[in-house]
Amino acid sequence: MKDIRLMKGNEAIAEGVIRAGCDGYFGYPITPQSEVLEYLMANNPEERTGMVVLQAESEIASIHMVYGGAAAGKRVMTSSSSPGISLMQEGISFMAGTELPCLLLNVVRGGPGLGTIQPSQSDYFQAVKGGGHGDYKMIVLAPASVQEMYDFAKLGFELAFKHRIQVMVLSDGAIGQMMEKVELDDQLPRLTDAEIVKKYPWATTGKTPDRPRNIITSLDLNPVKQEIINQNLQKKFRHIEQTEVRFERFMCDDAEYLFVAYGSSARVCQKAVLLGRAKGLKVGLLRPITLFPFPVDELARLAKQVKGMQAIEMSAGQMVEDVRLSVNGVVPVEHYGRLGGIIPAPDEVLHVLEQNFIHSKKEKQYEPATY
């Protein structure tokens, strides 16, 4: 019989990592994601699988604990929300430089600064363009449901170890806090120390006589070598762009107008598409699931089919830049965003699309509801 439960998004990913055979979680409380650490502490993964859970003194310490565990070949993760993720950028950059696999969760809240605890998508640039110093990318997965919060735990670890890269699940306060039904998988076993030595020969597990010592460092002062290190990193990112793009098409086959949205905004747009279809409008939705790599080719294909694209984001316009780069001027691309923790309504975004592409431009622009 299927194991189906009603869970919060934050709880679902916590259960997901236990079942995916995660070895260690290091985190620090911050709203709206504290349930991840709380769930892990309450559900005794130490007893269930031997997974270690530790509350660190800061987000900075958390990410460097993740660094230590990852460099020793373990499946490790941390989670936080926007201000905490900003603090982790140093460690993320070091993990990029040392090509360490890990799972990171950002349950995004509105910024800048302390901002708000309400949901937002204003950390897209930070996640997708490399938020720390240096030339690097992470794989960024954008869940749009509680089920995907759960599923991306396992997928995230798989991708992280497949490419030796950091995988960020870029969620938001709405997906993290809302409750939906989740179908759970069977428990995957954690790797034994002997299996780690065999599978990850690069890991610092203790130098044995049969191999040279393993060193995990991002430092090389020789510019010729450092350039090669960087070129190899870029090769890996290009390979990921070719092989790991994920997206979902919703009523795109005959669409004349296209919403482009991820995460919570995509849920809103899905409803807007249904409202539009009920009115006889040929509207569709392209939902990027991986934000890096971005579905560039799919959007370029759709640009030849549709008359216009409407990006919807809970930000001032971040993902829309990647949509425009993908479309490259073939069709108009408009942005509409709500800020500060406000989630747009389905009729609101449909109205925006109609105003931008279907009705005459002379008509009165839609005025968003005030609260």
Binding site: D23, G24, F26, V52, L54, A56, E57, S58, I60, A61, S62, H64, M65, V66, Y67, G68, G69, A70, A71, A72, K74, V76, E90, G91, F94, T98, D193, T204, T205, G206, K207, T208, P209, R213, N214, I215, I216, T217, S218, L219
Partner: protein, 259 residues
């Protein structure tokens, strides 16, 4: 007529008074001649060799003069971001509780930017060993003021001497850490004379042994010279260290396990 002994005749086991530990690599040390880092490296590697711990050791290198420690130590090592070594070591040790995990850090790394990570790793009583080389200055970046710089001491960023009214006091972080219930063994040593080297090695042996016995966090400070940063000859710097550093940072055990 006396006959000169050949190399083969001299190099026999019964004549050996010292051998270089096999856990130091052949790479030339990047440290300035006269600096204490080389001796500190050697002592730690000797102890690991003598306790047969190479396959069980994971070391963490800091940012600072000893950033390249992994070039000289023939063990698995990770290089940590500035100040974060105790957090990195925590991550390793929690997932590999039976390995020997240590950090090797300088005073800027451990007592300034990494104060939080150091204090909380000690407070949690992480079963790791921290080796702390204190020379009162940022050596790698060219001799700037450190949290441990003495009052009145001239550095690149305190060119008229450290004025404690605006620049703060030397941070006696080792005494501070010894107050935490999480630390098990806290000691301050030096490596500038043969007698001190022998004492320091004994302290390192204890710190390694206690971790094996899962006793909790052991902290070994080594007060060292920085002849380049202090702009002295090695001999002058050792004399200056005895006269000026040791009164502020007195040598000896600060916290010993209760019998």
């Amino acid at each position: 007529m006396s006959q000169l002994l050949t190399r083969e005749e001299i190099c026999v086991p019964e004549n050996e008074v010292y051998h270089r530990t096999c856990l130091l690599t052949d790479a030339a040390l990047s440290y300035c001649p006269g600096c204490g880092h080389g001796t500190a490296h050697r002592l730690i590697m000797e102890v690991i060799e003598e306790m047969n711990l190479q396959a069980d050791t994971i070391g963490v290198a800091p940012v600072g003069c000893s950033v390249l420690a992994y070039d000289f130590m023939d063990i698995d090592m990770q290089q940590a971001a500035h100040g974060r070594a105790p957090a990195v070591a925590t991550g390793i040790k929690r997932l590999y509780p039976d390995k020997f995990v240590f950090t090797y850090q300088g005073d800027g790394d451990l007592a300034a930017i990494g104060t939080g990570e150091t204090l909380h790793a000690c407070n949690r009583g992480e079963n790791i060993t921290i080796f702390f080389v204190n020379n009162g200055i940022y050596g790698m970046t060219g001799g700037q003021m450190a949290p441990t710089t003495l009052p009145g001491m001239k550095t690149a960023t305190s060119p008229f001497g450290r004025d404690v009214t605006t620049m703060g006091y030397p941070l006696k972080i080792t005494e501070l850490l010894a107050m935490l219930p999480g630390t098990y063994y806290v000691t301050r040593q030096s490596v500038h004379t043969p007698a001190n080297v022998r004492k320091a090695k004994k302290a390192i042996e204890k710190a390694v042994q206690y971790q094996k016995l899962k006793k909790g966090l052991c902290f070994v400070e080594i007060v060292s010279n920085c002849n380049s940063g202090w702009k002295m000859t090695p001999l002058e710097s050792n004399k200056w260290m005895e006269e000026n550093m040791f009164p502020v940072y007195p040598l000896g055990d600060i916290k010993v396990p209760k019998p």
